[in-house]
Every structure is written in structure tokens, then in C-alpha cells.
Amino acid sequence: MQMMKIETPNNLDELINCLKNADSSSCLLGGGTDLIININNKKLYPNTIIDLSGVNELKEIKKNGSSISIGAGVTLTEVCENSFVKEKFPALAQATSQVGSTQIRNRATIAGNIGNSSPCADTVVPLMALNAKLKMLNGNGEYYHIPVDKAIKGSGKKNLKPNEAIIEIVIPYLKDTCSSAFYKIGSRKAVTISKLNGAVVVDINLNNTIVNAKVFLGSLGPKAFRSIMAEKVLMNKKPNKELLSEFQNILMKQVDEAIPGRGSQLYKRHAIKGMCEELFIRLFGESCIRGEI
């Protein structure tokens, strides 16, 4: 690999200094599971790498009054094994547990998944469905929040400016009546880029009726997006195998609208039916789709 400069800030103040001097040939380094490979494959030629692994303020998961904050340096393993995340945000726990392999999850970070700017990024879909925001820091020492939906530029364009870094991912708590789920389809069961991924958040009342729904889909075009038509199908309905069938049909239509004429359209419009079934099982249980409720 070519000669480059490494900066190793030990805290947020030192990070601000590094960001102040950063330009378009600087790269932020989290776990390195995308960046180091891209440098080695000569897809990227940074002059400067800012190594975030020494900034301890980025390594915590904090429960706040109305939200959870996941530090930019928290690994995917730490996220998916966190009991609070598993209980309150299963979609995020499921997404992080299905990225790569154990070795990759032990290093990779959510912030890196967003910063790497892939349209197939697995953590983006549940974060959008969960209304997550990014807490950012720039070279002027300014902190600010951006909704994940706004932060993602799409089409593989860089999501971050050269002089800014993600500090935390902030996710508001859901009502106790809400649940969430994520599913991905790849060419393998593990260590696979998603060909299709999706996240659903539902609010179900005491009559077992869906009173609110959010459906987000990824790997279906330049940017993960919200499927309003799928949400309308779920609203005010009870989850059962008939609803699953309607959900599958509307998402097939959604695929046709999202990627008309693409080579993968025929595959994805069928594969999404399987994804729907898995999402329903994760949200409502297997007995729901067997028609036992």
C-alpha cells in the first residue's frame, strides 16, 4: 500500500483538530472492514487516515430519558448482543447480527456502515424505520443532529463531508405496543451483501389490530426508501395469513415500481415474498401465518 499519514486522536477534542485539517483525501477509520479492503484493492487512495479506535467517548451504548445512543465506535457484535437493543429494537439487533461474519462484526460499526455509503447497507433500513438520527461533530467543534434518512445521499455518494464525523446514533424509544423486525436476502446465509433487505415497525393495539406501520426497503435502487403502499395495506388490519398474502402482493408491485426493467427485477419480485413471510414470522410469530390465530 502507498505511504499515508495516520492520525490517532485519543478524545473528542483531538478528533475535532483532526477534522479541522481534513480534506477530501482524508478518510475516517472505524473498524476498517470496508476501508482497509478498499485501500488494499486500490479503490481508495487517502492521504490521511483518522483512526477513531482510540476515542473512548465513541464506545458506549447509553440509555437516555427518551432515546438510546449508540456510540460510533460500538461494534456490531456489541449492538446485536446488547440485551436492551434486543428487547426494544429487535430490527436493529437482527440487522447487525446478519452483517458479515463474527470476525467482521467484532470490528465493524454502524457509523462505518453509514459512512461507507453502500445502497445495500443493512443497518440503514432499520435505522430509518426506527426514526434514528445521527449526532455529528465537525472540525469547528459543532455538534448537530441529522435524521438518517437525510444523511443517506444514495447512489453510493459519500454520506459525510470531509470535516465531519458521526459521534452517535440516537434512536427514540418506541411505545410498548410496538415491535420491529428486519430481514435480508443474500446469495449465501452469511458473509453476504444483501440482494434485498427490509425493516418493519408496527404498533398493535389490544384488539390485535395494526394501528401504525412503517415499512422500509433497501437494495432496491440507489437509496433505501419507505414503502407507503405497503404500510397502507397493513393499517387497521389483523395480522394473519390473508394479510401476509396482501403484503406480499403489494411488495411485488413495489419492486416493479422501484426497479422497472432492471435485470434483478424478476428475481427480486419473487424473493420479496419470502422476505415478507420471514418478517411476519419475526413480528407476529409463526402461528400467525399458519392461520392458527
Partner: protein, 157 residues
Amino acid sequence: MEGGNQVELNMIVNGKKHNIDINPSDRLLDVLRDQLGLTSVKEGCGEGECGACTVIMNGDAVNSCTVLAIQARNKEIITTEGLEKNGELDELQKSFIRNGAIQCGFCTPGMLMSCKALLMKNPYPKEEEIRRAIEGNLCRCTGYTNIVKAVKDVVIR
């Protein structure tokens, strides 16, 4: 740290402290294999997919081809060379041999480190946990069955 110049790296490898000069762009794989002569650590793909370069860093299995060496500062690294103690192979290594979990041997160091990392965290893993621990380690020879059997054999004993 100056660009183009060497930087200092302090880390503990297989129980021994090292203070070495590295290039800023070196990966942990490059330092372990080429500078420290720990040739159990192999570059199978350089893309974090095959797991042949797996080492244990502060208790976690990692692909050393995706770790920039400087990120290993002040950390403890274990490679296959560090499993042997006083000339005797680790129980896991003995179990791999006993259970036919090695054919060409290329994946074996990485496979051992993934399995060792699992057992360090979870001494009594179920089969699905063993399989999940090695999903990032490719083997073209064994079909994985004997590898899983070898780990189960250590658990039973």
C-alpha cells in the same frame, strides 16, 4: 505521526511484548506474518471473506487483513503459534488432529482461532453456535463436519 515515515507500534503477541517500527499503511496481517514471522497467519483473500487470516485480538476473533496494524496498539494478539504451551499442543489443536478436521491445512490456523475465540467466551457452545463462529472461515476440503465435531469433542471432554 509523519507520513511516509515508520511509526512505532506496541502490542503483546502470544504473551510477548513487542515494540516495533511499522509503515502507517501496514495491516496487522502484514506485521504478524512478514515482520514477526508468524506464518500461521495467511492471506487467503485480503477482503475479509475467507477467514484464513483470523487472529484473536483482545479476546475477539478478527480478520487481520482488515485491521490496520496501528489499531492493534496496546492490544493482546493470539495466533496459532501461541496456542502451544511448553511444547504441548492446545486441546483444540489435538482435537482437530484426532477428528480429521485438517486436510490441506490452509484454513486451519484461521479456523482454530475462530473456534478458540468462541470457546474463550462460551466454553459449552451448541452446534449452531459453533457453525456461526466459523461462518467467516472458508474450507474447501473438509466440508466443515469434522471441524464442528472437533470443537464438540473439546466441549465434551
